[in-house]
Symmetry: D4
Subunit: 218 residues, 8 copies
């Protein structure tokens, strides 16, 4: 398999191409890693990498590849240089944590700080109200929530920060694998909430990256 | 057309049969009204009655039929005797008002008090927080909301009253004619929220009636 | 993992927070159990707990955790004190039993009595008709049914009790994992039927709890 | 427009081709009627013919075309010769009547007797139970119902007749223009219920025709 | 587990209750079999019984239970007495065979003859045309087809027999687990085609049973 | 409004840009026509142009614009020069005619011949079988069909021509505005059937244009 | 009707509450306008205001209300003070213009500059490539596109600006009222694209406002 | 099992019947292979054949069956004779490769040349622009893409070749198992794009075969 990694994307749009590992075969992953190992100046993020996939490429990479199980991500050749900008990643329940972790690790890879604000679901609204001041201290807010996704609307009504909502595929029945959370966020009564694909913590971090780069340019 | 009104339903399940007028023809409505006029001891509620429909049956009924345009309901032969029990009907936006009005008028017809608590959408959460004490003074809470329907989850997390959530068909695009609100309410993170069909203010009032009758029995 | 259990929910809305175990990892469950073991005055219900999950936490809890396989629930630190109130949990087929069992065990945990009325599907309507008197002896009726969910409408037309309908994900093809039962219940021709998420026996019990608490307050 | 009416269908499958008028233009309808007028030996049924459409073709046909507004059907050149066989057409609510009327008029056109058994919705189950003996006197049963369509399951469990279920597009919200009734009937807990398209009273009558012809052959 | 088998269904509607085995646990199946073994005069059909399920109940039943792997059915206490009536079960592809087999075995259990007419898909229409004479020799036609389900329309246009169409969940992508075949059959351009749930060979046989019983009554 | 008509598309991909009129306002249409009138060497096709829209632009264009009501198309500055290539446009019912007409007029505008083969629905399969020889005389086959769209599979199994299937939004209920026909065609059991959007006669003609241009190049 | 306008929203989240006029009755609109006229220091934006609605409130407001038909918006008491920040609003076709206009007018109301970059659909990719330099001169990019919405992915791959994608309900058939464009944008292969509800030009402008306020803070 | 292979399809429509292996049982596959082995003059393609399936039939076929794992296809009795005609198979990402491989191997089996043009996704549009000249050298273009499927529109706007678009089931969440790519391609803004079922590389090759045969006939 020939690998055609997009080496100029970082220069062009401010983010390097990432490797999405879900459903990639062992031989595909090995071919990609082999090519990328020859470019140590080119940091790369792997997302949705299972522990099993990590074990199959580890013999090739040794310590050059840093794997994190909670977020199912791996970083090759280290992170990008640190830049100004912090992001609050807000979650409601335990099930949203892997998606939030993917967002956080992506932000760290891109050179930004990310702070998790967890367990602030609206079924106990005071938990969120106590932490609003903390949230608005950040440059960008990412809200990760499943099922009714009510958290996005409440946070969006309390803060004026750029806000990215990530629906998650938690729950069962009418939750419809995250479809309900997605549509709930798209119809949020709070103004100016934008939305990513279901479970797309990586995409939310990339959207934050676009905003933070603009802030760094000012 | 023969009319087979279910005269024993009130005795059997505590609610008289109501006449759902949407899509009924003029001749169908007239046949129904004509029969019911002969039973002045049998109070009847008409729902989804358009002003045009009202005008076509008015010559038959005279003042025996009390029409209310906001809720699109009409009451024939007066309301049921007053009973103990009050319901808080909570709404977020202007578009939810007709559905809330249908719930309130149905409750009044059934002999109960209903109080509207409007304009408490979660995009400005303090408006709701200021009125929680008022809400919990009622025996049952009906929450009417469209789009993300986040209001149901927030109210459900703040109160322990029996709670009935009514999704509304407001909004556009991903709101999907109330389907998003419906699914959001069904997956509410608040415990013990039950749901009715979209825009079904009448059904919510009937569900409240079942609960209030039980409270009256105790 | 930090655990932020909502210890005040019982006081606030009359139900303690429950732990939904589906998809929780072993380490997440252990962290939760470890924290909760230190609060023996705080009874907790675990739902959707698989036997495998139970085996992994059992060494930590010993006999403090009572597991029930049929309902896939476990109770830590015993049930809440018994309160007045009984619920009829009505089912049609064998496949609906686990959902009904979850409702019953949740009710028992919350201090109420639950009676199962099983195998009364409408394909043999006389089985249901024989037991109507038994059903109306209860304060609240929960109907658990899948596929066409016709049972909800028939029971709703025969009784005036507060009624909660739970669609189940039984069947195949057009049953659509419970979506058909859900929509059938939402459009029930019986007045005042309210509905929970698919397979949500726990949620139905919580809705009953709200009603029974109101009855206890009177 | 050339008209290619299928003159041999009656001989081939026992039913003449019918003309479905919905969305046909005036000129299309006139061309069809003009051709068919020249074949007085060939009885034809027009379905979904609006009163406005009827008015536009009436000058051509005079009394050869018998229009019926309730069923929105018209018969040209009279009905087929009477044959043995009767069908019970069972409905729950007023909104189901036009579909039932289409089924009945089609059966009469095909030479069979049809008896309407109306207003036997399961919200008042005794109304249906009182008429079971009447229903089982017929050779075939057609059940027309919308929303939860519970009537199909209850009738199917009480009778052993060949049974055809017709979902209707009545109701709103989760009724989804008849989709819920359709799926409910397809997953009926009664054995051997078959289903037609939504609002397809004509199709149900044609299915009954196939069965009744077989009975006549025996 | 108490088993409430509906012993009077055969007398009431002409078909005994069948046991749908999908998702039933070993202990549930054993309880059912144990009870039914005590009623040797009561023939019972088990559907969707996996080979693994069969192995777990076989020690209880010995040769009283006749299992057939292709149709995943088992018959306890033999079939019903033979009656007059034959059914043509028509299929297009290899994937439709298990569903057709379920229909055939159910018919045989109910006392009727079933003939399979396989591999007559419309992509090679002459295969079907060659066998039309054979098909119309039967009292009822069952068409089993997936994907575009065009076979149902072509057969329906060539024959006047009572016809039952069974969509199957074969194919991938836009086939949508049989949903496309289901909707295609419901909108068949052939008159009088009725439809069952996806993959429901058993239901089609029960519908044929209703028709064949009527034929036997004449 | 500035108009940016793509004048080089004909040279680039062999088809000029067409003007899709649906939902365009009068002022938008007038601005477009005004600009295009100044380029008499640039033939343009307008699709989905209502008669009302035609009346509003006619004063500007005079006879330069040739309108055809059946296909709802108009041609400005005449058709493209005639080229070799003929297309058979096959339809089943009257409702499919406007879509077929759009395909035919587009083909004529592009310089090709189109022959309509109408009323060959599979409910009377012999009508189609009689005309197969005529169909295979053409270079490309377009099949236009709604509801079950079985015609596409039967034609695809009888001919080896390049074949383009166009689903139509005819029918009601489970026809789902053409969605069923679309999915049926996508899962056709005939090999090598390709599909366009619902009602997209224009797109089918453009696809034929791509093929016919390739044939002209050989 | 009591009006509860949220006067503190501007201070809290940097945007005043807007009035969504779709489906509001004349009396509701008049009540709102009457109240807001008494607060000339409080600029308000009305969206989805039809010309008919404008005519009914104009007698009350006189010139205080500036209506714009293309965007269906009106501004009461003038715009907010000008702030730094410009937005590129990129569109493909004529049908997307009203949504783009809503975004532009909202941005102007909020004090920002908006530049329209129209007619750059990817069917003629060079049109877009010619204007990339112009697009990247702006602080934020809003892409408005319907049907396949391919424009969002191409722009997202060419620029690193914060980017908000707005699906539109243009097209027919498989375009599904904008659902296809919505899902296409959510699964964009370009990194960091965020999405709003269908046709929600207002929401996109509010999201841009959040970003531009952050840029002004730096 | 009797095997009814359609031996005349090659002569009739220019393509031999292929064997779709997905979900076929070992005994079904063995029966088919056994029959086909006796007809060495009849080349056959097997699609969606897993490696496990290949292992079970290999003992029967020996080297007569050539298996290819990447495309999951096998060829029995060699390919068809080489014919004139080449196809460009264009893909965006790694996940689309198996579908492209199925298309290529089918084309080779049918006697045509296929060239893969991979890794030209529109997130880096210059990769595609560099290869347009190469693409237009082919007689037919097949575009294989998932998620937003924007590649189909961009290629369709750059080339005038006959074009077949194949949506793939890659991605997650709103990608909806290829449904989004399918609908995006059906609503492509490029003129004359036709579409196959999701993941149907085989079908796309068969559609190309129809076109290439026509080119060979000229």
């Amino acid at each position: 398999m020939t690998v055609c990694y997009d080496y100029t994307r970082l220069a062009r749009v401010g983010m390097p191409e990432a490797i999405f590992c879900l459903n990639k075969t062992t031989s595909q992953l090995r071919a990609i890693v082999t090519e990328l190992l020859e470019r140590p100046d080119n940091p790369v993020l792997f997302t949705r990498m299972s522990d099993a996939q990590y074990q199959t490429v580890r013999p090739l990479t040794g310590q050059a590849l840093e794997y994190d199980e909670e977020s199912a991500t791996a970083v090759l050749h280290g992170c990008l240089p640190a830049r100004n900008g912090t992001v609050a990643v807000v979650t409601a329940g335990t099930s949203d944590i892997p998606v939030a972790a993917e967002a956080c690790r992506t932000l760290e890879f891109l050179g930004f700080k990310a702070a998790r604000i967890a367990d602030v679901g609206v079924a106990g609204i005071w938990r969120l109200l106590e932490r609003v001041d903390e949230i608005v201290d950040h440059d960008v807010v990412i809200v990760v929530a499943g099922m009714d996704a009510a958290l996005a609307s409440v946070v969006g009504g309390l803060t004026g920060q750029p806000m990215i909502a990530v629906p998650t595929s938690t729950g069962y029945g009418a939750a419809a694998d995250g479809e309900t959370a997605l549509r709930s966020m798209l119809t949020s009564c709070a103004q100016g909430v934008t939305v990513t694909n279901i479970d797309n913590g990586f995409g939310a971090a990339c959207a934050a990256n676009r905003i933070l780069l603009a802030l760094n340019r000012t």
